[in-house]
């Protein structure tokens, strides 16, 4: 094995392989940092260029890019509160609050350092685990994957926000959204309102961008603040070196989370979606000294970032050894391997072990390289936290909407993004945690699919007695017990101290505004009840999951409505009139300006129908800066032209996107002189 290990390393450092690896790393930093792009888009862009290349350089280019996107997406997670990928959702819970406290540099220092450690430890664990990998992977069938998904949902539902009840309801709402589109085993559409767009499940990227990015950008716009709520001169500590020191200080946590990442990464189909939550949950449950999770605890950044880099090596093993790609990214890599003449199979763990090791080495080298590069850049990036919010908002809105457009090239994606923005804003201001919704949306179909396959294969509930299923079930129960006992202890302590310690509105799901929360709860209750009734006539397998979720969800939502109503009545007792209650609530949520902000975005979509995206986004940038931001016409026009050039050059010329066929395109463009390049519009 040692021989294969060293031969694999040699292959990576041969020229031009190492050059292509570094090129992939640099491209991956860019692709990962821009909201809405990510590893898949990067692989799709690069794949055609690798067809004519030699196998090792080709894989170096692809793996270099793929590996580093989960490190560079930390930039948008920390700076903007936008999870770059499913595997970096947990990072926003503490990373974004740190940026708001002026400590983005510290978050970057810790995240990039542990990313390198995670990548290297993950590869070492992988190397020593090779003999047990095959039985481990083959032991995970649909029942085990179902239970693992349930564990992920339990973790996220109980860990994000201060209300387990709202966390669970948000998760159930995510599951219901996941049922939109064709049923899993029978080709029958559900909740699709006769729309072709909704025949398929809701696309994840527009939902994530809408749910997380738009509310945070709205916050910057309506409050006229920087990402950091603290001026630069007041932000003490919180630099890169502090973060690096944190990474070393919590080395034991880094090591444990790397192990979690590497092993979960090996499980095809599910690993990447839940690994950060399992690691985050482990950090929360194992931390005794002064935890501030959800409010900017550096361990909340360290745990998921160590795990989500360790996962990459693990995910590669089932792909090359069994031809089983665990995700879309590994599926593309598998396709590239086959094109290069490398056939997956057990030979990759025996005769061709050196090739497998060379791939793992590529991941290790890329992880270390990206961490070093980003640590050098981090200070500059962290400074963006102190830039006026108005200069950030229009540019990021343009990339967010283009990111939402990338997957489906449908105006439905923009409408989804905007709708989820409204939902995200309401959830954020109403104290409903958003991460459970996203994870449930990702896992909803997987859970339904694996559950129904388990039932069909076992012809009943016999699968529940499988040993690994029982072990995961026990972990789920323990997680729930820990969560509930933690809340009880916290409340007892608060009662003992006679004060409400945790009144902060900072952090995911911690906002307290029952007048915003109540209508959202009522809408959810209506949705759950309607969905339960709508599903009744469907065949058993089609309605099984929606009905199973809708009934308890409706009951839990009614409970949440009860608590919100009680809180509103309590607020009424403290004030003189209902009018004052409403006014205070609206002021706290900055409701008026928020509605205007969403008005701008609705206008953006409507204008797109007329003049197309390239001009509409540029117009949005200009109008926003001029009218809302109060900047001069010159700056507004300059920024708008810059945005337009970026959209044309990057999204049209480089990515060759299909843009919405606007009225301008249909009627005006054909009559333009032939020398005029139409791609400009």
């Amino acid at each position: 094995m040692l021989d294969a290990l060293l031969t694999g390393l040699d292959l990576v450092f041969e020229w031009p392989s190492i050059g292509f690896l570094m090129l992939g790393v640099v491209l991956g930093i860019w692709i990962g940092a821009v909201p809405g792009l990510g590893g898949i888009i990067g692989l799709v862009l690069l794949l055609p260029f690798t067809f004519g290349m030699e196998p090792i350089p080709a894989m170096a280019l692809l793996l270099g890019l793929w590996t580093v996107t989960t490190t560079s997406d930390t930039i948008s997670s920390v700076m903007l509160g936008i999870p770059g990928t499913a595997a970096s959702q947990a990072t926003i819970l503490d990373g974004y609050p740190l940026a708001q406290q002026g400590q983005a540099g510290r978050a970057f220092g810790a995240a990039f350092t542990v990313s390198a450690f995670g990548g290297v430890f993950g590869a070492i664990i992988l190397a020593v685990s090779l003999p047990i990998i095959a039985p481990l992977i083959l032991a995970f069938r649909s029942p085990e994957l179902f239970m693992l998904g349930m564990l992920g949902l339990t973790m996220v539902g109980t860990l994000s926000g201060s209300s387990v009840l709202k966390g669970l309801i948000a998760a159930m709402f995510g599951l219901m959204l996941g049922f939109v589109g064709m049923a899993e085993t029978i080709a029958m559409p559900r909740f699709h309102f006769d729309s072709v767009y909704l025949l398929d499940e809701l696309p994840i990227i527009p939902v994530v961008l809408g749910l997380f990015a738009l509310p945070e950008l709205l916050e910057l716009a309506v409050r006229n603040v920087s990402i950091s709520r603290i001026p630069k001169h007041q932000a003490e500590g919180g630099g890169i070196m502090d973060g690096i020191r944190d990474a070393f200080k919590y080395w034991w946590l880094v090591l444990r989370c790397s192990v979690i990442g590497a092993y979960i990464g090996m499980l095809p189909g599910l690993g990447a979606s839940i690994v950060d939550w399992v690691a985050y949950g482990h950090a929360v449950q194992s931390t005794k000294d002064n935890p501030r999770f959800g409010h900017g605890d550096i361990r909340g950044v360290i745990a998921p970032e160590a795990a989500n880099n360790a996962i990459k090596g693990g995910a590669l093993v089932p792909t090359v050894a069994f031809g089983i790609p665990g995700s879309l990214g590994t599926a593309i890599l598998l396709g590239a391997l086959v094109v290069q003449g490398i056939r997956p199979g057990p030979d990759m763990l025996t005769d061709n072990l050196h090739i497998t090791f060379s791939l793992v080495w590529m991941i290790v080298v890329a992880n270390v390289a990206v961490s070093i590069l980003l640590l050098f850049l981090a200070n500059q990036v962290a400074k963006v936290a102190f830039v006026p919010g108005h200069l950030i908002v229009p540019g990021v809105i343009a990339t967010v909407f283009m990111g939402a457009w990338l997957g489906g090239a449908s105006i439905g994606d923009w409408i989804t993004c905007l709708s989820m923005g409204v939902i995200g804003y309401t959830m954020k201001r109403g104290g409903w945690p958003r991460p459970p919704l996203i994870l449930a949306l990702i896992l909803g179909n997987i859970l339904e699919n694996t559950f129904q396959i388990s039932m069909r294969v076992a012809q009943g509930w016999g699968w529940l007695s499988r040993p690994i299923v029982l072990i995961i079930l026990a972990i789920i129960v323990l997680t729930l017990v820990f969560a509930v006992s933690g809340i009880v202890k916290k409340k007892q302590q608060q009662a003992k101290e006679g004060e409400q310690k945790d009144q902060s509105d900072e952090g995911e799901g911690n906002s307290k505004n029952p007048l915003i929360s109540l209508p959202f709860g009522i809408v959810l209750a209506i949705i759950f009840i309607w969905a339960g009734i709508e599903a009744q006539p469907w065949p058993e397998e089609v309605k099984q999951f929606p009905v199973t979720i809708a009934i308890p969800a409706a009951i839990l939502t009614l409970a949440a409505i009860f608590y919100d109503t009680r809180n509103i009545l309590a607020e009424r007792l403290l004030t003189n009139s209902w009018g004052e209650v409403f006014q205070q609530s609206a002021e706290k949520a900055v409701l008026g300006r928020s509605l205007i902000f969403f008005g701008y975005l609705i206008a953006l979509i409507l204008v797109t129908f007329v003049i197309g995206q390239k001009l509409a986004l540029a117009l949005f940038i200009g109008v926003y800066l001029w009218r809302w931001g109060g900047y001069s016409a010159r700056i507004s026009i300059g920024y708008a032209i810059g945005g337009w050039i970026f959209i044309v050059a990057f999204y049209d010329r480089i990515m060759n996107l299909l843009f919405h066929p606007s009225w301008l395109h249909s009627w005006i463009i054909p009559s333009l002189p032939e020398w005029m390049p139409t791609y400009l519009f």
């Binding site: 069938r141 086959v338 449908s410 069909r456 010159r634």
Partner: protein
């Protein structure tokens, strides 16, 4: 502020440069596609074999179409291909710059499918591609003592067939064939994609499934056939222009279903079930991938594309690239043959349509 002004002036200069890059060069009639980009919409995901083929063929079309247009691939998966089909049908410009490549949903058109807002005959057919045929394979431990051939399946007490759903041609054809042989089987649907099905067969969750021949050779043989986990049981051939079933040249040693049937029953397959299988092969497994443009596509564009199609797909360079990329050479079918196949489901006898509708409905309820 001065810096910002300078920056704005620089940006404006770049913008003006971008508008000025294409000044009139000559007034001579040039090839229709010169300077244009063709976006090929593929109704599959970026990791699919269909996308790999779209890229491969696209490279050679770009070299062979007069004017050498740039060809880019746009994946638009979803809605069981309907998202891409509806897009090209309703939203693509008619100038030939946006066309479709990939599989179709002929069964959906035949027995009805929600969201199908078009007829395939509406599209402008540009050409077709015969991709690899299908091969069914099963775990050897399906039968106590070991499965030795497809004919042994009839002795197995309970065969679990995995697949995406009973509404897909590859699963439907296999189910009818298993019924014809008298195999005691049950379908476990829900495996979205060949990768997931292969994993389920490898870990023993299901016992039987199918794959395209090249995927079978590249991904099943090294991982499962080589160590004796599975054996191929039969292949589902395609149909030539004369209506004959033709075995895949990639799988010369794997028997066709007819051969297995004769081995088990001692006679040639016949009856409504066999007619249904043949019709599924005729409109679903023959010229599986097609290029088509929106209704009323520009005539110059159509002519340019059709003219280049056969030369592109019969060139030595294409064959060499195909062998390197997908390990076989997908064969072309000109637009006339493709149109013929596209309309084949209209010629399906009513009794076969009724049989298929009933069969799908019956197995969708199970």
């Amino acid at each position: 502020m001065k810096r910002i002004h300078t920056f704005c002036i620089a940006l404006t200069a770049v913008a003006l440069a971008m508008t000025g890059v294409m000044m009139p060069t000559n007034a001579i009639a040039k090839p229709y596609y010169e300077g244009k980009t063709i976006t090929v919409v593929v109704g599959l995901g970026p990791s699919s074999g269909g996308t790999t083929l779209a890229r491969l063929i696209g490279n050679h079309m770009s070299k062979n179409i007069e004017g050498n247009p740039k060809i880019v691939i746009k994946n638009m998966p979803g809605g069981a291909l309907l998202k891409a089909h509806n897009f090209v049908h309703a939203k693509a410009p008619k100038d030939g710059t946006v066309i479709y490549y990939g599989p179709r949903q002929p069964l959906g058109e035949l027995i009805g499918m929600p969201g199908m807002n078009f007829k395939y005959s509406d599209f402008t057919v540009l050409g077709g591609v015969q991709v690899a045929d299908l091969v069914n394979y099963a775990r050897t431990d399906t039968l106590k003592g070991g499965l030795k051939s497809g004919a042994d399946l009839v002795k197995a007490p309970d065969v679990i067939l995995g697949g995406i759903s009973a509404r897909t041609i590859r699963v439907l054809a296999t189910m009818i064939q298993l019924d014809m042989l008298g195999v005691n089987f049950r379908l476990v649907p829900g495996y979205r994609g060949s990768g997931k099905l292969r994993a389920a067969i490898l870990n023993g969750e299901v016992q039987m499934g199918n794959d395209a021949a090249h995927a079978y050779l590249n991904r099943v043989v090294p991982t499962m056939v080589k160590d004796g986990t599975v054996i191929p049981v039969w292949q589902i051939p395609s149909m030539d222009a004369s209506g004959n079933l033709v075995k895949s040249s990639l799988l010369p040693n794997i028997p066709s279903f007819s051969e297995v049937y004769r081995q088990v029953k001692g006679k040639d397959p016949s009856g409504i079930q066999w007619e249904a299988v043949k019709n599924l092969v005729k409109f679903g497994q023959t010229v599986q991938h097609m290029y088509f443009g929106p209704p009323g596509m520009n005539e110059d564009a159509v002519a340019a594309f059709r003219k280049a199609f056969l030369p592109a797909m019969t060139s030595a360079a294409y064959e060499a690239d195909a062998m390197k990329t997908v390990k076989y050479v997908p064969a072309p079918a000109d637009y006339k043959r493709a149109t013929e196949v596209l309309s084949a489901n209209k010629a399906t006898p009513p009794e076969v349509v009724k049989f298929l509708k009933d069969y799908v409905a019956q197995h969708s309820k199970k």
